[in-house]
Symmetry: C2
Subunit: 122 residues, 2 copies
DNA sequence: CGGTATCCCCTGAGATACTG
DNA sequence: CAGTATCTCAGGGGATACCG
């Protein structure tokens, strides 16, 4: 039996895990916002339009837990907290950019397909 | 094209749309199952372990609507329905494989990060 | 065999109010 | 400023039963 032909089920689950994380509503937008440099909480909130405080907190925590971003507290009044991508986070952002390129290249095509499908299937 | 620019918000939304579609629970597993060739409904159901009939139906319909797969009915008794990737679907599967490679390469690292984070944050 | 139609549950996500 | 704590709700996803 050739194990190299079809990806193992375990790999599939791992990929799904990553994708469902990356594919949630906010993760990518946060990562993209951080690609060009560190940002603070409210700066990030402004950059990622439409996100609620709570969802930003949750998304940041998850990303930090996975080692994608680093959280730095500068003790001062008012407190300053900086978020920046780790090397792992940067590498993710590069991979995501590939997918983004694919999406950008095919979005229009997909929309046409949907339109045609909806027209043909009343 | 200026690669250094920040992606437009519209692009971001398009990418998120694609990713949340691709990142759902079943889409990738279905696409991966079809990479090596066409399959029929129940063959697909066996290949993608744990999926319910309804979710398989929904996933296939969405993929068909987006033009990722093609559905062919062979009129016979019992009826035979074949699903296969379109060129667009194949191109998606290639892009996803990139992400899969990234995931495979970093999964262990991520798990270590989570473990450490959970240890450090009681 | 290849699906629909229902019902139900759980989680993702938002709104709001409060805190160090 | 940078969060935490609650409440709430829509919809993604599953189980089951039925249909051509």
């Amino acid at each position: 039996m050739d194990v190299t032909a079809r990806p193992a089920a375990a790999d599939c689950r791992a990929v799904s895990e990553i994708l469902s994380r990356v594919g949630d509503k906010w993760t990518i937008q946060v990562v993209v916002a951080l690609r060009l440099g560190a940002l603070r909480f409210n700066g990030l909130k402004r950059q990622v339009g439409g996100i609620s405080q709570q969802m930003l907190t949750r998304t940041l925590k998850t990303l930090e837990r996975d080692g994608m971003i680093e959280r730095t507290v500068h003790p001062s009044t008012p407190p300053q907290v900086e978020y920046r991508l780790t090397p792992l986070g940067h590498s993710l952002s590069e991979t995501v950019r590939q997918l983004a390129d694919w999406a950008a290249a095919h979005t229009e095509n997909i929309w046409e397909n949907r339109l045609r499908y909806d027209t043909d299937h009343p």
